[in-house]
């Protein structure tokens, strides 16, 4: 049976982890590759780096972190943030990323997703959708961290992106992001049930029960969380154990002795 994936997300700015927890075993808490190694050891099923670097000049700094992570952590790595061109994708994949997530560039040019999927394969093209509730049972796609409305219906957009060749949807509720109030499970469910590809639920996780809700109520194939792990509120191991106890199928933690 396919297991539900638990995906820790690291926000990276100018090559440094933002809001990283200072685990005692970290030499450098700001180093994304170091943080990635901790998550790897704790049984993360995948890793996501979100590059929030503002300036275009500093974007290439992430490549070094990606390369060092990919050489030490033998699990899938997704990188998002500022992916706008085929050359951005190529550079990330060559650095060692397995997938890239495309957000704003997909809204500005939907054909970009199709071209990227044809060139690199759907398996490495994730479309990130940031959505806000605009009516009961209605959600609109936003860009730029929830600031810019697009007029696009989130469920329709997810269908369209899947038809263009997206291999996976990373769905973030901008209403819930940062609130720790739990996923918008109605949104998650509406999108998950509408598309044939896996949906990763994101935005709002504050408790371990929220992870379970994303799967049971939201029908998500994977759940992503950032701050509950960054701040050390919970360890990944606890989260997996909690999900297993709640009846969510998760991969048993498989680790050689450290």
């Amino acid at each position: 049976m396919l297991k539900v994936r638990l995906i820790p997300c690291l926000d990276v700015k100018d090559g440094r982890v933002v809001k990283g927890v200072n685990f005692v075993d970290l030499v450098d808490a700001g180093d994304p590759a170091e943080q990635a190694r901790i998550y790897d050891r704790e049984g993360a099923d995948e890793l996501t780096f979100l590059d929030i670097t503002a300036s275009h000049e500093n974007r290439s700094i992430i490549l070094d972190a990606v390369a060092r992570t990919a050489e030490a952590c033998f699990m899938p790595l997704t990188v998002g943030g500022g992916v706008r061109t085929e050359s951005d994708i190529r550079r990330l994949l060559m650095a060692g990323a397995d997938k890239v997530s495309i957000n704003t560039a997909a809204v500005h040019n939907p054909d970009f997703v199709g071209a990227a999927a044809r060139k690199f394969g759907s398996q490495c093209i994730v479309v990130a959708i940031d959505a806000k509730a605009t009516a009961p049972g209605g959600w609109e796609v936003f860009t730029h961290g929830g600031r810019n409305p697009t007029g696009l219906d989130a469920v329709e957009w997810a269908r369209r992106m899947t038809a263009m060749g997206a291999g996976e949807i990373l769905l973030t509720s901008m209403d819930r992001d940062g609130t720790r109030a739990g996923f918008d499970t109605a949104l998650t469910r509406a999108v998950s049930d509408a598309v044939t590809v896996p949906v990763i639920a994101s935005g709002g996780v504050g408790t371990l029960d929220h992870l379970v809700e994303g799967v049971k109520q939201g029908h998500a194939s994977a759940v992503l969380a950032a701050s509950i792990f960054h701040f050390g509120t919970f360890r990944l191991r606890q989260a997996k154990e909690h999900m297993a106890r709640a009846g969510v199928p998760v991969r048993p933690i498989d680790r050689r002795p450290a």
């Binding site: 049976m1 396919l2 297991k3 539900v4 994936r5 790897d40 099923d45 390369a67 990919a70 050489e71 030490a72 033998f74 699990m75 899938p76 994949l93 060559m94 650095a95 060692g96 397995d98 690199f120 394969g121 759907s122 398996q123 490495c124 291999g167 996976e168 044939t196 590809v197 896996p198 194939s221 994977a222 991969r251 048993p252 498989d254 680790r255 050689r256």
Partner: protein
């Protein structure tokens, strides 16, 4: 020092794959040189050969054919010299007689059978089959699966929309369940192939790679 050749034919980045092979070799106490190469001569000289592959069957087939002299070198090493061979993901699918993704494309023809669209018995199951799924070895014990057979619940990372259906069930060395059995590992003689990505499957994957590197078919 013996060389393990990971064939580079433009299908994805192979640096992290090479690192996984280096780690597995070191863990197994093997002194091996891991090379990522597009040179048919390097493949001809290699003690072991790995064929990776991501994307579509037809594209991978075309990419492999596009490297001048590669397919003949691969055939000579694998068919005539009996060098141990590992196909990964689409590299495993290319071992088939033919693939039906987008159009009918011939494979290397090493394991009779076809690569067909994944159609899980349960319509709620997503395609691609993406994520960690449990491996179920079947048939006689196989040296490359020794570590997996010894593990309690071995999980590996899959990402695919097509699956290899061998004609001869004895060529299926392991399956996984996704709305019915899905071929996870194929093999015969000096050939083995995994639908999943051992280089992305953490400890279970590294163990399988080590077992491949130790394998004396």
């Amino acid at each position: 020092m013996e060389t393990v050749a990971i064939i580079d034919y433009g299908s994805g980045n192979l640096r992290s794959a090479a690192k996984a092979f280096e780690r597995a070799a070191a863990d197994a106490g093997l002194a091996l040189r891991i090379v990522v190469t597009a040179d048919p001569d390097a493949v001809a000289r290699a003690a072991r050969i790995v064929l990776p592959g991501v994307g579509a069957f037809a594209d991978c087939h075309a990419g492999l054919e596009a490297v001048d002299g590669m397919v003949p070198a691969l055939r000579a090493a694998v068919e005539e010299k009996g060098r141990p061979f590992l196909g990964i993901c689409v590299g495993m699918q290319l071992m088939a007689t033919r693939g039906l993704e987008h159009r009918v494309t011939p494979g290397l023809g090493w394991i009779p059978g076809e690569v067909v669209a994944l159609q899980p018995g349960d319509a709620r199951l997503k395609v691609p089959h993406m994520g960690w799924n449990e491996l179920r070895p079947r048939g006689p014990r196989h040296a490359v699966l020794a570590g997996i057979e010894g593990a309690a619940a071995p999980h590996a990372y899959f990402v695919h929309s097509y699956q290899f259906v061998p004609l001869d069930p004895s060529h299926v060395l392991a399956t996984t369940d996704y709305g019915g059995p899905v071929t996870a590992v194929v093999g015969r003689d000096n050939l083995v192939g995994t639908q999943f990505h051992p280089e992305k499957s953490q400890e279970v994957g590294l163990r399988l790679i080590a077992d491949f590197l130790l394998w004396r078919p």
